[in-house]
């Protein structure tokens, strides 16, 4: 089957271009750019809206196995399709953790049956994410794990992490760390400072992130492993990251959309939908991190989609669960960064699609000929008022509830098949 997208505003992160054009898709792959419509192709009039590579979302929590009442592969897949996310990179912090090839095979099968978008899986770095023994890295790699991470758990024993990194390097596996000093951040609900003190909430100093990052980077230097820091959210961490990169270490870093668009004061009167790990940061940090995404120092922008049911959020702030759903809101939230002039659309899709795909060795994230036709058509200017109960995720915990957003996904294709939106 052939598709011909006309009258599109093509957002190409690889060429860093944002220009009108057309795109031809054949057999699920991008076949031509700005060519005439081939005979028999289905014409799709993009109406001047943006056509970009689908988002590759690194670090999505799905509740299978263990917490299907919060999110299933089906619900996550539908939410992703509606949000322009064409590849979900799922986290292994499930119950039980994805730490054996058998569990990995189970989730891979379930995901393929249930989800309209692609789902790839990460595996735990240590058994049970307990930070003591490494998982069967080789078997897991063979079974399709794209990266290894204990997600929100820091491997606090440096010797265990050093060994896991050394072993991973020998297999060429990517290790994803959560940079945070576990002692300083223990029990923290917000970032320390005046706001934390006036709210009487336990806080963690931003330097705890740099301490965790510096330790991990030293171990990467020691072992030569491929490393990605899942969330770098503080200005103080950025020089360490820049130093590691210019020193030739194989290091990348990510940040969640929430840390780019919200700050610590948004917690307000104990609003638990604004509780995150790491916690939201002061405005100066947010601005520094946005700037780092623009410069490319921070490579990857992700949703850190974390579904939580109502009961785990309807608690006093300290006891409430952290995280927010974001598969459906990551694109409109990212448009805030575009509309305020901080990031161009190619820069945004470089961070949301091209870089994560590249880092994981996936062919997605590009508009190049031969790339998979994973595409999102969106109107960056379409305004709407977000009602959390309209979200497709099983969990509705979004901090953007009731907020004015700009940017609507009109349609999404995975491998040339439309998975969201109407015929055009």
């Amino acid at each position: 089957m052939m598709l011909h997208f006309t009258n599109a505003r093509l957002i190409d992160p690889e060429a860093c271009s944002d220009a009108p054009g057309s795109l031809t898709v054949a057999d699920g792959l991008i076949a031509a750019r700005d060519a005439d419509a081939p005979k028999g192709a289905i014409r799709i009039n993009c109406g001047g809206h943006c056509l970009a590579p689908g988002i590759v979302d690194l670090g999505v929590k799905i509740g299978e196995p263990g917490e299907r009442h919060r999110e299933s592969f089906r619900s996550a897949g539908l939410a992703a399709a509606a949000g322009g996310v064409t590849t979900i990179i799922a986290r292994p912090d499930t119950a039980p953790a994805i730490d054996t090839p058998e569990t990995l095979e189970f989730v891979t099968r379930r995901a393929a049956e249930a989800s309209p978008v692609r789902i790839r899986h990460m595996a735990a770095l240590t058994k049970g994410r307990a930070g003591r023994e490494m998982t069967e890295t080789g078997f897991l790699l063979d079974a399709g794990a794209v990266a290894f991470t204990d997600a929100g758990h820091v491997v606090s024993d440096s010797k265990v992490l050093a060994r896991a990194l050394t072993y991973a390097r020998s297999l060429g596996a990517l290790v994803i760390g959560h940079p945070q000093d576990p002692g300083l951040s223990h029990g923290a609900a917000v970032t320390s400072g005046k706001f934390a003190s006036l709210r009487g909430l336990p806080g963690v100093h931003p330097l705890a992130e740099r301490m965790g990052l510096e330790r991990d980077l030293a171990l990467v230097e020691m072992t030569g492993a491929r490393y990605h820091a899942d969330q770098v959210t503080c200005a103080a961490s950025l020089p360490a990251l820049a130093r590691a990169k210019s020193g030739g270490l194989d290091v990348t870093a990510g940040v969640s959309i929430h840390h780019l668009t919200l700050n610590d004061l948004d917690v307000g009167d104990y609003r638990t939908f604004f509780k995150f790990t790491p916690p939201l940061r002061p405005e100066a940090d947010r601005l520094a991190v946005v700037e780092a995404v623009a410069s490319g120092l921070i490579d990857i922008l992700c949703s850190m989609h974390t579904p939580q049911d109502e009961d785990s959020k309807r608690l006093p702030f300290e006891e409430a669960a952290a995280g927010a759903v974001a598969l459906e809101t990551v694109l409109p939230a990212a448009m805030r960064l575009y509309h305020c002039g901080a990031l161009s659309l190619p820069q945004l899709f470089r961070a949301m699609a091209l870089n994560p795909a590249r880092r994981l060795g996936l062919p997605q994230g590009r508009l190049a000929i031969g790339a998979p036709a994973d595409l999102v058509l969106f109107d960056p200017d379409a305004p709407f008022l977000l009602d959390r109960f309209t979200l497709r995720s099983k969990s509705k915990n979004t901090p953007f509830d009731g907020q004015r957003m700009e940017g609507k996904v009109l349609a999404t294709w995975v491998g040339g098949t439309r998975v969201f939106g109407e015929d055009r």
Binding site: G187, S192, G193, K194, F195, A196, S197, L198, R199, G200, L201, G203, H205, D269, Y270, R314, L315, P316, F317, E318, E319
Partner: protein
């Protein structure tokens, strides 16, 4: 008219006029409380429920007495922490009680913000009797009344708040109130017991007690909250007492007519010398307890008035 609030969750949302309204009304109750017949019928027929999720003696007794003297039907519930798995049933408990149609809910809870959460789920007026390390508004109001009676005013004073500021909701509420009333505030504590971001508070910050107390009109001591401390914040109680315990010698740095306050319960010989605490010429600690009942009566009267007005408006709306 001032003090239009539905709930009293903290000093944060009060305006200086609201604070003055509470203090003025409290004065009337101080007089009433000194009479033999103390009862009024301001809250007659109304139901007050005190929910204490955290152990308390004086605050609980004070609220109970305040409600009874106003003529309310008062019930006090001690919700043992052991039976509540970390606040899990907080909302359920609140909804259950709310269904019994109370008019005033007085709540103390060990988690910051828990009372705000509860207030958002019930239809009655909620009075914060202390939530975690967040606020304890009636304590700040009774402290203000005590100061105003002792000093003749509640502005342009130099007030030192000393001790375990990091863990103290009393300190936070007092900081907010004294700041709103335009006083000069000094915070005196070892650096480990200072809250984070303290330099942005607009207060003067000291770690030396003698220096910090110089020229102060009011010295507020705080209890060392051993139960909230996980891990060493101070090397030992005796070193703490030596450097930060208030005794006559340290107090000599303050103004000769400076008053000494403490929210209680006191750790004698840890943050304050026992003899000084009992010195009726300097210590107003017993006055604070007395003012507590009056201030709580005033707060409950104001909240009840607002609640009645709101219900009246709703009823009028339903008829219209």
């Amino acid at each position: 008219m001032t003090f239009r609030a539905r709930h009293l969750l903290g000093i944060e949302h009060l305006a200086p006029e609201d604070i003055r309204t509470v203090l003025d009304l409290s004065e009337r109750y101080v007089d009433l409380n000194r009479r033999t017949i103390k009862r009024t019928d301001v809250l007659a027929g109304m139901t007050q429920i005190n929910m204490f999720f955290e152990a308390s003696t004086r605050t609980q007794a004070s609220f109970e007495l305040a409600g009874k003297r106003l003529g309310a039907d008062v019930m006090t519930m001690q919700v043992a922490q052991s039976s509540l798995k970390k606040g899990e049933t907080l909302i359920d408990t609140a909804l259950t009680l709310n269904a019994m149609q109370p008019d005033l809910l007085v709540v103390r809870h060990p988690s910051s913000g828990a009372v705000n959460l509860l207030a958002s789920k019930v239809t009655c007026a909620v009075l914060n009797a202390g939530d975690g390390q967040h606020e304890h508004p009636t304590q700040a109001l009774l402290d203000a009344l005590t100061i105003r009676r002792a000093k003749g005013r509640i502005q342009r004073l130099t007030v030192a708040i000393c001790g375990d500021i990091a863990h103290s909701r009393v300190a936070r509420s007092n900081l907010l109130l004294l700041g709103k009333m335009e006083n000069r505030i000094r915070l005196i504590a070892p650096a480990t017991l200072m809250p984070s971001g303290v330099n942005d508070f607009g207060c003067e910050v000291f770690d030396d007690m003698a220096e910090g107390l110089k020229g102060c009109d009011v010295v507020m001591m705080l209890r060392l909250q051993k139960e909230r401390m996980d891990g060493g914040f101070i090397p030992s109680e005796r070193e703490y007492y030596h450097r930060y315990g208030l005794d006559a010698e340290k107090l000599a740095h303050a103004r000769p007519d400076a008053i000494v306050m403490h929210p209680g319960p006191m750790n004698r010989g840890v943050e304050i010398d026992g003899t000084l605490a009992d010195d009726i010429n300097r210590s107003v600690i017993q006055d604070q307890v007395e003012m507590g009942v009056a201030v709580r009566m005033a707060c409950m009267e104001l909240l009840a008035r607002n609640l009645k007005a709101e219900r009246g408006r709703l009823a009028a709306g339903a008829l219209a």
